[in-house]
Protein backbone atom coordinates (compact mmCIF):
# COMPACT_ATOMS: atom_id res chain seq x y z
CA UNK A 1 0.00 0.00 0.00
CA UNK A 2 1.39 3.40 -0.95
CA UNK A 3 1.83 6.14 1.55
CA UNK A 4 -0.76 8.13 -0.37
CA UNK A 5 -3.36 5.37 -0.17
CA UNK A 6 -2.66 4.94 3.50
CA UNK A 7 -3.18 8.63 4.04
CA UNK A 8 -6.51 8.51 2.19
CA UNK A 9 -7.67 5.57 4.27
CA UNK A 10 -6.58 7.26 7.48
CA UNK A 11 -8.41 10.41 6.52
CA UNK A 12 -11.53 8.43 5.70
CA UNK A 13 -11.33 6.67 9.05
CA UNK A 14 -10.96 9.99 10.81
CA UNK A 15 -14.06 11.34 9.08
CA UNK A 16 -16.01 8.23 10.03
CA UNK A 17 -14.79 8.44 13.62
CA UNK A 18 -15.69 12.09 13.99
CA UNK A 19 -19.08 11.48 12.43
CA UNK A 20 -19.70 8.78 15.00
CA UNK A 21 -18.45 10.98 17.84
CA UNK A 22 -20.67 13.86 16.78
CA UNK A 23 -23.83 11.78 16.75
CA UNK A 24 -25.76 13.50 19.52
CA UNK A 25 -27.30 11.78 22.47
CA UNK A 26 -31.07 12.10 22.17
CA UNK A 27 -32.29 15.35 23.72
CA UNK A 28 -36.04 15.73 23.83
CA UNK A 29 -36.45 18.00 26.85
CA UNK A 30 -37.96 21.43 26.31
CA UNK A 31 -36.15 24.32 28.02
CA UNK A 32 -38.24 26.01 30.68
CA UNK A 33 -37.65 29.25 32.56
CA UNK A 34 -37.77 29.48 36.36
CA UNK A 35 -40.75 31.81 35.98
CA UNK A 36 -42.66 29.18 34.03
CA UNK A 37 -41.86 26.48 36.54
CA UNK A 38 -42.70 28.64 39.58
CA UNK A 39 -46.32 27.41 39.92
CA UNK A 40 -44.97 23.88 40.32
CA UNK A 41 -42.03 24.74 42.55
CA UNK A 42 -43.67 24.22 45.93
CA UNK A 43 -40.84 22.59 47.91
CA UNK A 44 -39.81 24.48 51.03
CA UNK A 45 -36.45 23.73 52.59
CA UNK A 46 -35.73 23.84 56.32
CA UNK A 47 -33.91 27.15 55.72
CA UNK A 48 -37.20 28.62 54.50
CA UNK A 49 -36.20 28.71 50.84
CA UNK A 50 -39.40 28.74 48.81
CA UNK A 51 -41.66 30.24 51.47
CA UNK A 52 -44.11 32.69 49.86
CA UNK A 53 -45.09 36.19 50.94
CA UNK A 54 -47.86 36.41 53.50
CA UNK A 55 -48.32 36.17 57.25
CA UNK A 56 -50.64 34.95 59.93
CA UNK A 57 -51.18 34.36 63.63
CA UNK A 58 -52.72 31.60 65.68
CA UNK A 59 -55.73 33.79 66.47
CA UNK A 60 -56.38 34.17 62.74
CA UNK A 61 -55.73 30.50 62.14
CA UNK A 62 -58.25 29.19 64.62
CA UNK A 63 -61.17 29.90 62.27
CA UNK A 64 -59.35 28.33 59.33
CA UNK A 65 -58.71 25.24 61.43
CA UNK A 66 -62.31 24.95 62.58
CA UNK A 67 -63.60 25.22 59.03
CA UNK A 68 -61.04 23.16 57.14
CA UNK A 69 -59.20 20.79 59.48
CA UNK A 70 -61.19 19.97 62.59
CA UNK A 71 -63.49 17.37 61.00
CA UNK A 72 -60.53 15.01 60.54
CA UNK A 73 -58.01 16.17 63.14
CA UNK A 74 -60.34 16.89 66.06
CA UNK A 75 -60.87 19.89 68.26
CA UNK A 76 -57.66 21.76 68.96
CA UNK A 77 -55.68 19.13 67.02
CA UNK A 78 -56.49 16.34 69.45
CA UNK A 79 -56.90 13.88 66.58
CA UNK A 80 -59.58 11.39 65.46
CA UNK A 81 -60.55 10.15 63.15
CA UNK A 82 -57.16 11.07 61.58
CA UNK A 83 -53.78 11.99 63.05
CA UNK A 84 -53.44 14.01 66.22
CA UNK A 85 -51.51 17.24 65.62
CA UNK A 86 -50.99 18.18 69.25
CA UNK A 87 -49.68 16.47 72.37
CA UNK A 88 -47.30 13.62 73.03
CA UNK A 89 -44.73 15.78 74.80
CA UNK A 90 -42.36 13.53 76.74
CA UNK A 91 -43.45 10.35 74.96
CA UNK A 92 -40.63 10.35 72.41
CA UNK A 93 -37.76 10.13 74.90
CA UNK A 94 -39.27 7.33 76.95
CA UNK A 95 -39.74 3.58 76.93
CA UNK A 96 -43.49 3.73 76.46
CA UNK A 97 -45.61 4.17 73.37
CA UNK A 98 -44.63 7.21 71.32
CA UNK A 99 -47.28 9.78 70.47
CA UNK A 100 -45.84 11.47 67.39
CA UNK A 101 -47.36 14.86 66.67
CA UNK A 102 -46.23 18.14 65.15
CA UNK A 103 -45.28 19.27 68.64
CA UNK A 104 -43.65 16.12 69.96
CA UNK A 105 -41.88 14.80 66.86
CA UNK A 106 -41.66 17.07 63.81
CA UNK A 107 -38.18 18.62 63.60
CA UNK A 108 -38.95 21.63 61.34
CA UNK A 109 -41.79 24.13 61.30
CA UNK A 110 -41.20 24.66 57.58
CA UNK A 111 -42.32 21.06 56.97
CA UNK A 112 -45.68 21.85 58.51
CA UNK A 113 -46.27 24.77 56.14
CA UNK A 114 -45.01 22.78 53.15
CA UNK A 115 -47.23 19.81 53.90
CA UNK A 116 -50.39 21.81 54.54
CA UNK A 117 -49.82 23.75 51.35
CA UNK A 118 -49.32 20.69 49.16
CA UNK A 119 -51.62 18.13 50.76
CA UNK A 120 -54.32 19.79 52.87
CA UNK A 121 -57.23 20.13 53.35
CA UNK A 122 -57.50 16.52 52.27
CA UNK A 123 -60.54 16.85 50.02
CA UNK A 124 -59.56 20.25 48.63
CA UNK A 125 -55.78 20.42 48.45
CA UNK A 126 -53.85 23.54 47.41
CA UNK A 127 -56.91 25.71 48.09
CA UNK A 128 -55.76 27.84 51.04
CA UNK A 129 -54.33 31.33 50.51
CA UNK A 130 -50.80 32.05 51.71
CA UNK A 131 -52.16 34.07 54.64
CA UNK A 132 -54.49 31.20 55.59
CA UNK A 133 -51.54 28.79 55.38
CA UNK A 134 -49.41 30.92 57.69
CA UNK A 135 -52.34 31.43 60.06
CA UNK A 136 -53.34 27.79 60.36
CA UNK A 137 -49.68 26.76 60.72
CA UNK A 138 -49.38 29.33 63.51
CA UNK A 139 -52.48 27.90 65.19
CA UNK A 140 -51.07 24.37 65.22
CA UNK A 141 -47.69 25.63 66.42
CA UNK A 142 -49.42 27.62 69.15
CA UNK A 143 -51.46 24.60 70.30
CA UNK A 144 -48.12 22.83 70.70
CA UNK A 145 -46.63 25.69 72.70
CA UNK A 146 -44.06 26.61 70.08
CA UNK A 147 -45.35 30.19 69.65
CA UNK A 148 -47.77 32.55 71.40
CA UNK A 149 -51.35 33.20 70.34
CA UNK A 150 -50.49 36.62 68.96
CA UNK A 151 -47.15 35.77 67.36
CA UNK A 152 -47.17 36.41 63.62
CA UNK A 153 -45.28 34.04 61.39
CA UNK A 154 -44.04 34.71 57.90
CA UNK A 155 -41.24 33.67 55.53
CA UNK A 156 -38.61 35.18 57.83
CA UNK A 157 -39.79 33.97 61.21
CA UNK A 158 -41.07 30.46 60.41
CA UNK A 159 -37.66 28.89 59.66
CA UNK A 160 -36.23 30.39 62.85
CA UNK A 161 -38.66 28.53 65.13
CA UNK A 162 -36.99 25.72 67.01
CA UNK A 163 -39.23 22.68 67.25
CA UNK A 164 -39.05 20.64 70.50
CA UNK A 165 -37.71 17.53 68.72
CA UNK A 166 -35.33 19.41 66.41
CA UNK A 167 -32.34 17.36 67.61
CA UNK A 168 -34.18 14.04 67.73
CA UNK A 169 -32.85 12.57 64.50
CA UNK A 170 -29.63 10.73 63.74
CA UNK A 171 -28.29 9.19 60.54
CA UNK A 172 -28.83 5.50 59.85
CA UNK A 173 -25.55 3.83 60.87
CA UNK A 174 -25.41 1.32 58.01
Amino acid sequence: MSMRNRAVICAAMLVAASAAASAQAPQFGQPVTPADIAPWDISIGPDGAGLPAGRGSAKQGEAVYAAKCQACHGEKGAGRPNDALVGGAGTIVSDGPAVKTVGSYWPYATTLFDYIRRAMPWNETKSLSNDELYAVSAYILHLNGVIGADDVIDAQSLPKLKMPNRDGFIPFPR
Binding site: G29, I37, G45, P46, C72, T125, F169, P171, F172
Partner: protein, 426 residues
Amino acid sequence: MGRKRKAAQSLGEHVAGNGMLSRRIFLEGAVLASATGIAASSAAGEPLAVAPWMKEPGAALAGYGQPSKYEKAARTVPAPANPATVGIGTARTPLQLLDGMITPNGLHFDRSHSGTPEIDPDQHRLAIHGLVKRPLVFTMEALARYPRESRIAFLECAGNSGALYAPQAQPLNAPAIHGLVSCAEWTGVRLATLLDEAGVDPAAKWIVAEGADAAAMSRSFPLAKAMDDALLCLYQNGEKVRPANGYPLRLLLPGFEGNMNVKWLRRLKLVDAPVMSKDETSKYTILLKEGKAWQFVFPMEVKSVITRPSPGLAFNGPGFYEISGLAWSGKGRLRQVEVSADGGKSWAPAALQEPVLPKAVTRFRAAWQWNGAPTVLQSRATDETGMVQPSRAAFVAERGLRGNYHYNAIASWRIDEKGEARNVYA
Protein backbone atom coordinates in the same frame (compact mmCIF):
# COMPACT_ATOMS: atom_id res chain seq x y z
CA MET B 1 -19.88 -33.59 34.41
CA GLY B 2 -23.54 -34.01 33.62
CA ARG B 3 -26.47 -33.95 36.00
CA LYS B 4 -26.25 -37.00 38.08
CA ARG B 5 -29.31 -38.63 39.60
CA LYS B 6 -28.62 -39.67 43.13
CA ALA B 7 -29.93 -42.79 44.67
CA ALA B 8 -33.31 -42.45 46.31
CA GLN B 9 -32.10 -42.74 49.86
CA SER B 10 -29.43 -40.09 49.41
CA LEU B 11 -31.85 -37.55 47.90
CA GLY B 12 -34.18 -38.09 50.77
CA GLU B 13 -31.58 -37.45 53.42
CA HIS B 14 -32.46 -35.24 56.33
CA VAL B 15 -30.14 -32.22 56.42
CA ALA B 16 -31.59 -30.46 59.46
CA GLY B 17 -33.82 -31.24 62.40
CA ASN B 18 -37.46 -32.30 62.37
CA GLY B 19 -37.65 -33.57 58.81
CA MET B 20 -35.86 -30.92 56.72
CA LEU B 21 -34.73 -32.64 53.52
CA SER B 22 -31.97 -31.88 51.08
CA ARG B 23 -32.68 -29.20 48.48
CA ARG B 24 -31.33 -31.54 45.84
CA ILE B 25 -34.91 -32.57 45.19
CA PHE B 26 -35.35 -29.15 43.53
CA LEU B 27 -31.93 -28.83 42.03
CA GLU B 28 -31.96 -32.23 40.35
CA GLY B 29 -35.66 -32.59 39.77
CA ALA B 30 -35.97 -36.01 41.34
CA VAL B 31 -38.95 -37.09 43.40
CA LEU B 32 -38.43 -39.99 45.70
CA ALA B 33 -40.88 -42.48 46.90
CA SER B 34 -38.85 -43.10 50.01
CA ALA B 35 -38.67 -39.46 50.95
CA THR B 36 -42.14 -38.37 49.97
CA GLY B 37 -44.19 -41.31 50.99
CA ILE B 38 -45.88 -41.19 47.60
CA ALA B 39 -46.61 -44.74 46.52
CA ALA B 40 -47.86 -45.69 43.09
CA SER B 41 -51.41 -46.89 43.50
CA SER B 42 -54.61 -47.04 41.55
CA ALA B 43 -56.99 -45.61 44.07
CA ALA B 44 -59.53 -44.14 41.70
CA GLY B 45 -61.45 -47.34 41.28
CA GLU B 46 -63.49 -46.07 38.34
CA PRO B 47 -62.81 -44.91 34.76
CA LEU B 48 -61.73 -41.27 34.29
CA ALA B 49 -64.61 -39.06 33.12
CA VAL B 50 -64.48 -36.91 29.98
CA ALA B 51 -65.30 -33.38 31.16
CA PRO B 52 -68.15 -31.34 29.62
CA TRP B 53 -65.73 -28.63 28.40
CA MET B 54 -64.26 -31.17 26.03
CA LYS B 55 -67.63 -31.64 24.36
CA GLU B 56 -68.52 -28.07 23.38
CA PRO B 57 -66.69 -24.97 22.17
CA GLY B 58 -65.12 -22.68 24.74
CA ALA B 59 -65.65 -18.95 25.33
CA ALA B 60 -65.01 -16.26 22.73
CA LEU B 61 -61.69 -14.42 22.62
CA ALA B 62 -61.28 -11.51 25.00
CA GLY B 63 -59.53 -8.18 24.49
CA TYR B 64 -57.90 -8.18 27.90
CA GLY B 65 -57.46 -11.53 29.58
CA GLN B 66 -58.75 -12.34 33.02
CA PRO B 67 -57.93 -15.09 35.51
CA SER B 68 -60.03 -18.25 35.64
CA LYS B 69 -63.34 -17.75 37.40
CA TYR B 70 -62.16 -20.43 39.80
CA GLU B 71 -59.25 -18.28 40.94
CA LYS B 72 -60.06 -15.63 43.51
CA ALA B 73 -56.64 -14.14 44.25
CA ALA B 74 -57.19 -10.53 45.22
CA ARG B 75 -55.48 -7.86 47.23
CA THR B 76 -56.52 -7.36 50.85
CA VAL B 77 -57.79 -3.83 51.35
CA PRO B 78 -58.25 -3.01 55.06
CA ALA B 79 -61.04 -0.56 55.80
CA PRO B 80 -59.76 3.00 56.22
CA ALA B 81 -59.74 4.42 59.72
CA ASN B 82 -61.80 7.33 58.44
CA PRO B 83 -64.42 6.48 55.78
CA ALA B 84 -64.19 10.07 54.55
CA THR B 85 -60.57 9.61 53.50
CA VAL B 86 -60.85 6.41 51.48
CA GLY B 87 -57.71 7.01 49.44
CA ILE B 88 -55.47 6.62 52.49
CA GLY B 89 -54.35 3.09 53.12
CA THR B 90 -52.99 -0.09 51.63
CA ALA B 91 -53.93 -2.84 49.22
CA ARG B 92 -51.88 -5.91 50.09
CA THR B 93 -50.48 -8.55 47.76
CA PRO B 94 -51.87 -12.09 48.38
CA LEU B 95 -48.37 -13.54 48.74
CA GLN B 96 -49.67 -16.94 49.85
CA LEU B 97 -51.59 -17.45 46.59
CA LEU B 98 -48.75 -16.62 44.19
CA ASP B 99 -45.64 -18.43 43.05
CA GLY B 100 -42.57 -17.42 41.08
CA MET B 101 -40.98 -13.99 41.55
CA ILE B 102 -43.22 -11.67 39.51
CA THR B 103 -46.30 -10.02 40.98
CA PRO B 104 -49.15 -9.69 38.47
CA ASN B 105 -49.99 -6.03 37.90
CA GLY B 106 -53.49 -6.25 39.37
CA LEU B 107 -52.05 -7.77 42.54
CA HIS B 108 -49.04 -5.47 43.06
CA PHE B 109 -49.35 -3.83 46.45
CA ASP B 110 -50.43 -0.23 46.69
CA ARG B 111 -49.86 2.24 49.49
CA SER B 112 -51.53 5.53 48.94
CA HIS B 113 -51.54 8.78 50.90
CA SER B 114 -54.25 10.59 48.96
CA GLY B 115 -55.92 8.24 46.49
CA THR B 116 -55.04 7.28 42.94
CA PRO B 117 -55.20 10.21 40.52
CA GLU B 118 -56.64 9.69 37.04
CA ILE B 119 -53.91 11.31 35.01
CA ASP B 120 -54.25 12.16 31.30
CA PRO B 121 -50.82 11.26 29.90
CA ASP B 122 -51.09 13.91 27.19
CA GLN B 123 -51.30 16.58 29.86
CA HIS B 124 -48.73 15.09 32.21
CA ARG B 125 -45.24 16.61 32.31
CA LEU B 126 -41.97 15.87 34.05
CA ALA B 127 -39.92 18.91 35.07
CA ILE B 128 -36.23 18.75 35.97
CA HIS B 129 -34.94 21.95 37.55
CA GLY B 130 -33.09 23.48 40.47
CA LEU B 131 -29.31 23.12 40.41
CA VAL B 132 -29.04 22.31 36.70
CA LYS B 133 -27.64 24.26 33.78
CA ARG B 134 -30.74 23.82 31.62
CA PRO B 135 -34.13 23.38 33.37
CA LEU B 136 -36.21 21.05 31.19
CA VAL B 137 -39.76 19.83 30.80
CA PHE B 138 -40.62 16.49 29.18
CA THR B 139 -43.86 15.27 27.68
CA MET B 140 -44.61 11.56 28.01
CA GLU B 141 -44.25 11.37 24.22
CA ALA B 142 -40.74 12.80 24.50
CA LEU B 143 -39.77 10.40 27.28
CA ALA B 144 -40.93 7.48 25.15
CA ARG B 145 -38.28 8.37 22.54
CA TYR B 146 -35.27 7.76 24.78
CA PRO B 147 -33.37 4.48 24.88
CA ARG B 148 -35.04 2.21 27.40
CA GLU B 149 -33.90 -0.26 29.98
CA SER B 150 -35.70 -2.99 31.92
CA ARG B 151 -34.96 -4.37 35.34
CA ILE B 152 -36.79 -6.70 37.66
CA ALA B 153 -37.04 -5.04 41.04
CA PHE B 154 -38.93 -5.49 44.27
CA LEU B 155 -40.79 -2.68 45.91
CA GLU B 156 -41.41 -2.92 49.63
CA CYS B 157 -43.30 -0.41 51.71
CA ALA B 158 -41.19 0.76 54.63
CA GLY B 159 -44.10 -0.21 56.86
CA ASN B 160 -44.25 -3.80 55.60
CA SER B 161 -44.34 -6.38 58.43
CA GLY B 162 -44.89 -3.49 60.85
CA ALA B 163 -47.50 -5.66 62.60
CA LEU B 164 -44.56 -7.61 64.04
CA TYR B 165 -43.55 -4.57 66.10
CA ALA B 166 -46.60 -5.37 68.24
CA PRO B 167 -45.51 -6.71 71.66
CA GLN B 168 -47.78 -9.77 71.26
CA ALA B 169 -48.11 -11.77 68.04
CA GLN B 170 -51.33 -10.92 66.25
CA PRO B 171 -53.55 -13.50 64.51
CA LEU B 172 -52.81 -12.19 61.01
CA ASN B 173 -52.13 -13.93 57.72
CA ALA B 174 -49.27 -13.40 55.25
CA PRO B 175 -50.77 -10.46 53.31
CA ALA B 176 -51.90 -8.70 56.48
CA ILE B 177 -48.37 -8.86 57.86
CA HIS B 178 -46.06 -9.03 54.85
CA GLY B 179 -48.24 -8.11 51.85
CA LEU B 180 -46.60 -4.74 51.16
CA VAL B 181 -43.87 -6.25 49.00
CA SER B 182 -44.16 -7.03 45.31
CA CYS B 183 -41.81 -7.56 42.39
CA ALA B 184 -42.19 -6.52 38.76
CA GLU B 185 -40.25 -5.92 35.60
CA TRP B 186 -39.99 -2.16 35.22
CA THR B 187 -39.07 -0.52 31.92
CA GLY B 188 -38.20 3.08 31.25
CA VAL B 189 -35.47 5.66 30.84
CA ARG B 190 -32.42 5.97 33.03
CA LEU B 191 -32.70 9.10 35.14
CA ALA B 192 -28.96 9.72 34.61
CA THR B 193 -29.62 10.20 30.88
CA LEU B 194 -32.01 13.09 31.53
CA LEU B 195 -29.80 14.60 34.22
CA ASP B 196 -26.92 14.66 31.74
CA GLU B 197 -29.17 16.50 29.31
CA ALA B 198 -30.13 19.05 31.95
CA GLY B 199 -26.50 19.45 33.09
CA VAL B 200 -26.03 18.85 36.81
CA ASP B 201 -24.58 21.75 38.79
CA PRO B 202 -21.65 20.54 40.95
CA ALA B 203 -23.42 22.00 44.01
CA ALA B 204 -26.30 19.54 43.63
CA LYS B 205 -26.22 16.67 46.13
CA TRP B 206 -29.87 15.65 46.48
CA ILE B 207 -32.99 15.47 44.34
CA VAL B 208 -36.52 16.20 45.52
CA ALA B 209 -39.00 13.94 43.72
CA GLU B 210 -42.64 14.95 43.69
CA GLY B 211 -45.81 13.23 42.51
CA ALA B 212 -48.83 14.67 40.72
CA ASP B 213 -51.28 13.22 43.23
CA ALA B 214 -53.53 15.36 45.40
CA ALA B 215 -50.93 15.33 48.20
CA ALA B 216 -48.03 16.08 45.80
CA MET B 217 -46.15 13.41 47.77
CA SER B 218 -42.46 14.31 47.92
CA ARG B 219 -39.17 12.77 49.03
CA SER B 220 -35.49 13.73 48.83
CA PHE B 221 -32.97 11.17 47.63
CA PRO B 222 -29.21 11.36 47.05
CA LEU B 223 -27.97 12.42 43.62
CA ALA B 224 -25.59 9.44 43.70
CA LYS B 225 -28.58 7.08 43.58
CA ALA B 226 -29.92 8.92 40.54
CA MET B 227 -26.64 8.45 38.72
CA ASP B 228 -26.36 4.81 39.82
CA ASP B 229 -29.54 2.92 38.94
CA ALA B 230 -32.63 5.16 39.12
CA LEU B 231 -35.16 4.48 36.38
CA LEU B 232 -38.12 6.55 35.14
CA CYS B 233 -40.66 3.83 34.53
CA LEU B 234 -43.24 3.83 31.76
CA TYR B 235 -43.96 0.08 31.78
CA GLN B 236 -44.73 -2.47 34.48
CA ASN B 237 -44.53 -6.15 33.53
CA GLY B 238 -44.68 -5.23 29.86
CA GLU B 239 -47.74 -2.99 29.93
CA LYS B 240 -48.04 0.67 30.88
CA VAL B 241 -47.58 1.31 34.59
CA ARG B 242 -50.88 0.80 36.41
CA PRO B 243 -52.60 3.92 37.83
CA ALA B 244 -52.22 2.70 41.41
CA ASN B 245 -48.51 2.28 40.77
CA GLY B 246 -47.88 5.68 39.26
CA TYR B 247 -49.27 5.95 35.73
CA PRO B 248 -47.99 7.43 33.53
CA LEU B 249 -44.55 7.78 35.14
CA ARG B 250 -42.99 6.26 38.23
CA LEU B 251 -39.58 6.79 39.76
CA LEU B 252 -37.82 3.52 40.56
CA LEU B 253 -34.99 3.64 43.11
CA PRO B 254 -34.10 -0.06 43.23
CA GLY B 255 -33.84 -1.42 46.77
CA PHE B 256 -34.99 1.79 48.48
CA GLU B 257 -38.08 1.94 50.70
CA GLY B 258 -41.31 1.99 48.73
CA ASN B 259 -42.49 5.56 49.21
CA MET B 260 -39.27 6.97 47.75
CA ASN B 261 -40.21 5.36 44.43
CA VAL B 262 -42.47 8.34 43.81
CA LYS B 263 -45.59 7.58 41.80
CA TRP B 264 -47.17 9.93 39.24
CA LEU B 265 -43.78 11.64 39.03
CA ARG B 266 -44.06 15.23 37.86
CA ARG B 267 -41.00 17.03 39.22
CA LEU B 268 -37.37 16.48 40.09
CA LYS B 269 -35.61 19.40 41.76
CA LEU B 270 -31.87 19.23 42.27
CA VAL B 271 -30.86 20.75 45.60
CA ASP B 272 -27.86 20.89 47.90
CA ALA B 273 -29.59 19.41 50.96
CA PRO B 274 -32.71 17.35 51.69
CA VAL B 275 -35.93 19.33 51.78
CA MET B 276 -37.11 17.62 55.02
CA SER B 277 -40.54 16.76 53.66
CA LYS B 278 -43.25 15.34 55.91
CA ASP B 279 -42.52 11.83 54.65
CA GLU B 280 -38.84 12.00 55.59
CA THR B 281 -39.28 13.55 59.03
CA SER B 282 -42.63 12.87 60.71
CA LYS B 283 -43.06 9.59 58.81
CA TYR B 284 -40.59 6.95 57.60
CA THR B 285 -38.11 7.66 60.38
CA ILE B 286 -37.31 4.87 62.82
CA LEU B 287 -37.80 5.83 66.46
CA LEU B 288 -35.36 3.92 68.65
CA LYS B 289 -35.81 2.90 72.24
CA GLU B 290 -33.70 5.75 73.59
CA GLY B 291 -35.78 8.42 71.86
CA LYS B 292 -33.59 9.30 68.89
CA ALA B 293 -34.84 8.36 65.44
CA TRP B 294 -32.91 7.10 62.44
CA GLN B 295 -33.52 9.34 59.46
CA PHE B 296 -32.92 8.62 55.76
CA VAL B 297 -33.00 4.87 56.08
CA PHE B 298 -33.04 4.05 52.39
CA PRO B 299 -32.39 0.38 51.51
CA MET B 300 -34.79 -2.28 52.66
CA GLU B 301 -32.48 -4.71 54.43
CA VAL B 302 -32.21 -8.45 53.87
CA LYS B 303 -35.42 -10.33 54.61
CA SER B 304 -37.39 -13.47 53.86
CA VAL B 305 -40.93 -14.68 54.39
CA ILE B 306 -42.42 -18.16 54.10
CA THR B 307 -45.56 -17.83 52.01
CA ARG B 308 -46.46 -21.55 51.88
CA PRO B 309 -47.47 -22.75 54.36
CA SER B 310 -48.97 -19.68 55.98
CA PRO B 311 -52.26 -18.95 57.74
CA GLY B 312 -55.18 -20.19 55.66
CA LEU B 313 -53.13 -22.79 53.79
CA ALA B 314 -53.43 -25.84 55.99
CA PHE B 315 -51.34 -28.97 55.53
CA ASN B 316 -53.37 -32.11 55.03
CA GLY B 317 -51.75 -34.71 57.24
CA PRO B 318 -48.16 -35.79 57.69
CA GLY B 319 -45.91 -36.33 54.67
CA PHE B 320 -43.90 -34.44 52.10
CA TYR B 321 -44.42 -30.69 51.67
CA GLU B 322 -42.64 -27.93 49.81
CA ILE B 323 -41.95 -24.94 52.01
CA SER B 324 -41.73 -21.89 49.77
CA GLY B 325 -41.31 -18.18 50.15
CA LEU B 326 -39.70 -14.95 49.04
CA ALA B 327 -36.40 -13.38 49.99
CA TRP B 328 -34.93 -10.04 49.02
CA SER B 329 -32.35 -7.39 49.90
CA GLY B 330 -32.21 -3.75 48.93
CA LYS B 331 -28.43 -4.04 48.89
CA GLY B 332 -28.04 -6.66 46.19
CA ARG B 333 -28.47 -10.36 45.48
CA LEU B 334 -29.40 -13.07 47.91
CA ARG B 335 -26.55 -15.36 48.79
CA GLN B 336 -28.47 -17.91 50.82
CA VAL B 337 -31.82 -18.71 52.37
CA GLU B 338 -32.14 -21.29 55.12
CA VAL B 339 -35.28 -22.89 56.50
CA SER B 340 -35.82 -24.28 59.98
CA ALA B 341 -38.55 -26.72 60.97
CA ASP B 342 -37.60 -26.73 64.65
CA GLY B 343 -37.99 -23.10 65.62
CA GLY B 344 -34.47 -22.08 64.64
CA LYS B 345 -32.48 -24.85 66.36
CA SER B 346 -31.21 -26.19 63.02
CA TRP B 347 -31.28 -24.87 59.48
CA ALA B 348 -31.41 -26.45 56.04
CA PRO B 349 -30.27 -24.54 52.95
CA ALA B 350 -33.19 -23.80 50.60
CA ALA B 351 -33.00 -24.01 46.82
CA LEU B 352 -32.94 -20.54 45.26
CA GLN B 353 -35.08 -20.39 42.14
CA GLU B 354 -33.25 -18.80 39.23
CA PRO B 355 -32.93 -16.04 38.29
CA VAL B 356 -31.40 -14.60 41.46
CA LEU B 357 -31.25 -10.88 40.66
CA PRO B 358 -29.98 -7.92 42.67
CA LYS B 359 -32.72 -5.92 44.41
CA ALA B 360 -35.40 -8.32 43.17
CA VAL B 361 -37.25 -10.96 45.13
CA THR B 362 -35.90 -14.50 44.94
CA ARG B 363 -38.21 -17.47 45.29
CA PHE B 364 -36.87 -20.12 47.64
CA ARG B 365 -38.01 -23.69 48.10
CA ALA B 366 -37.25 -26.29 50.73
CA ALA B 367 -38.38 -29.89 51.15
CA TRP B 368 -39.96 -31.04 54.38
CA GLN B 369 -41.12 -34.36 55.69
CA TRP B 370 -43.71 -33.34 58.28
CA ASN B 371 -44.27 -35.88 61.03
CA GLY B 372 -47.60 -34.34 62.01
CA ALA B 373 -46.39 -32.84 65.29
CA PRO B 374 -46.75 -29.12 66.08
CA THR B 375 -43.64 -27.08 65.35
CA VAL B 376 -42.40 -23.67 64.22
CA LEU B 377 -41.22 -22.88 60.68
CA GLN B 378 -38.78 -20.05 60.01
CA SER B 379 -36.67 -18.74 57.14
CA ARG B 380 -33.41 -16.78 57.31
CA ALA B 381 -31.86 -14.91 54.38
CA THR B 382 -28.29 -13.75 53.80
CA ASP B 383 -27.43 -11.26 51.07
CA GLU B 384 -24.28 -10.87 49.01
CA THR B 385 -22.95 -8.16 51.33
CA GLY B 386 -22.95 -10.76 54.12
CA MET B 387 -25.89 -9.27 56.00
CA VAL B 388 -27.92 -11.96 57.74
CA GLN B 389 -31.58 -11.53 58.59
CA PRO B 390 -31.61 -11.01 62.38
CA SER B 391 -33.56 -12.98 64.94
CA ARG B 392 -36.48 -11.12 66.44
CA ALA B 393 -34.60 -10.93 69.74
CA ALA B 394 -31.52 -9.37 68.12
CA PHE B 395 -33.66 -6.98 66.09
CA VAL B 396 -35.61 -5.81 69.13
CA ALA B 397 -32.41 -5.52 71.18
CA GLU B 398 -30.96 -3.10 68.63
CA ARG B 399 -33.94 -0.82 68.09
CA GLY B 400 -36.81 -1.69 70.43
CA LEU B 401 -40.44 -1.94 69.36
CA ARG B 402 -41.23 1.68 68.48
CA GLY B 403 -39.73 1.78 65.00
CA ASN B 404 -42.88 1.19 62.89
CA TYR B 405 -40.79 0.77 59.75
CA HIS B 406 -38.18 -1.51 58.15
CA TYR B 407 -39.07 -4.61 60.16
CA ASN B 408 -36.89 -7.40 58.75
CA ALA B 409 -36.40 -9.91 61.57
CA ILE B 410 -36.96 -13.64 61.10
CA ALA B 411 -40.69 -14.42 61.05
CA SER B 412 -42.27 -17.55 62.48
CA TRP B 413 -45.30 -19.64 61.56
CA ARG B 414 -46.41 -22.17 64.15
CA ILE B 415 -47.85 -25.31 62.57
CA ASP B 416 -50.36 -27.05 64.81
CA GLU B 417 -51.29 -30.72 64.76
CA LYS B 418 -54.02 -30.00 62.20
CA GLY B 419 -51.49 -28.43 59.84
CA GLU B 420 -52.80 -24.89 60.37
CA ALA B 421 -50.26 -22.06 60.42
CA ARG B 422 -50.36 -19.16 62.86
CA ASN B 423 -48.22 -16.06 63.39
CA VAL B 424 -46.10 -16.45 66.53
CA TYR B 425 -42.98 -14.97 68.05
CA ALA B 426 -40.41 -17.70 68.53
